[in-house]
């Protein structure tokens, strides 16, 4: 004949559940947790730094774009379809890159006339801005500067091709 079921309280008394052992976790557990915590902190720092650098880069880029855009806006000739100023600047960058790649021996020989005139045009441009010259005068100077740079870039390219043969 079976006994009637016991309540949990009766079971607990019978089994001495109050004596259920308190087990100690491994001694290695805290060092493991501390290591994981430090690693998470390091990862969080790296993430923050990356986010900060990314944000700063975006801001810097936005500032540069804004600044150059504003500069263009102030000086861009409204009556012409060709932006001689921007074109001259782009050509100047090309020329610098080509000059950096070319040898010094070749350097002196190329387009010395155009280089001399370019110096004169730069001086004229500076003077025109200082005097507050009319937009037409500025545009003409930028156009000439662009043409001279075209000559120099072409000469440099031609010379480089020859020197590589």
């Amino acid at each position: 004949m079976s006994e009637p079921d016991l309540t949990f309280h009766q079971l607990a008394q019978r089994l001495r559940l109050e004596q259920l052992p308190h087990v100690e976790p491994s001694a290695e557990l805290w060092p493991r947790i501390a290591r994981a915590h430090r690693q998470r902190l390091r990862q969080a720092r790296v993430r923050r730094l990356s986010a900060w650098c990314g944000g700063a880069g975006v801001l810097l880029l936005a500032a540069l774009i804004g600044a150059s855009g504003g500069w263009f806006d102030m000086r861009q000739p409204s009556s012409t379809t060709v932006d001689w100023q921007a074109r001259a600047q782009a050509l100047e960058l090309q020329l610098r890159a080509l000059n950096a790649a070319a040898s010094r021996q070749v350097d002196a020989a190329i387009g010395s006339d155009a280089q001399d005139e370019l110096v004169l045009v730069d001086l004229a441009l500076q003077a025109a801005y200082d005097e507050g010259a009319a937009q037409e005068r500025l545009t003409a100077l930028w156009k000439r500067r662009s043409e001279l740079l075209d000559v120099l870039v072409s000469a440099r390219r031609h010379n480089m091709q020859i020197s590589r043969i």
């Binding site: 079921d5 309280h9 607990a12 559940l17 308190h22 491994s26 557990l29 915590h37």
Partner: protein
Amino acid sequence: MDNTSDPAAGFAQRVDAMTLARAQAGDMQAFATLYSSFGRPCFNLALRILGNRAQAEDLVQEVFLKMFGAIRSYRGDAPFGSWLKRMAVNATIDQLRSQRHEADVDADAIFAAQPHDSAGPATALDAWSLLQRLPPRARAVLVLHEFEGYTHVELAELFGQSESYSKSILARALKRLNELVVNPREAAACPSQT
């Protein structure tokens, strides 16, 4: 019955304001102090429910890392131990939920998934081994209700089920314990019964 309620050892321990403030400032030594106080009760809670030492230690690690990250948001509305215990219980329930081999909702399925084991009733009738012979979810309900003092309303919220769900599982768990303790011969003779 709550044998973890010993204020000197369980979740009821008090945390002094200085330790708490230092922990909230990210002081590692303060975290170590909190672990030395609450690591063991947290581990025992997880071990009783999960029944596996390695899993329990992983869970303690998870809970403490979470606590380190969240301690700045602790405002002292509840005792620190209760706050941490809640985290530990939630993590344990999540762990049980992740064990997809066990049926989630049906008490019959839960007990059918773990019939009387082959160890038989003649093995040592200590409380620990008896607990381990219950299905994990039934063990969780029993431990939380009978040892940690959770009400059926709280259990319903924890498991995302109705109150009758935890009542049903608890009743089945008690029945199985009775079979193992009071009428072991019947349990041995009818191993398929739950």
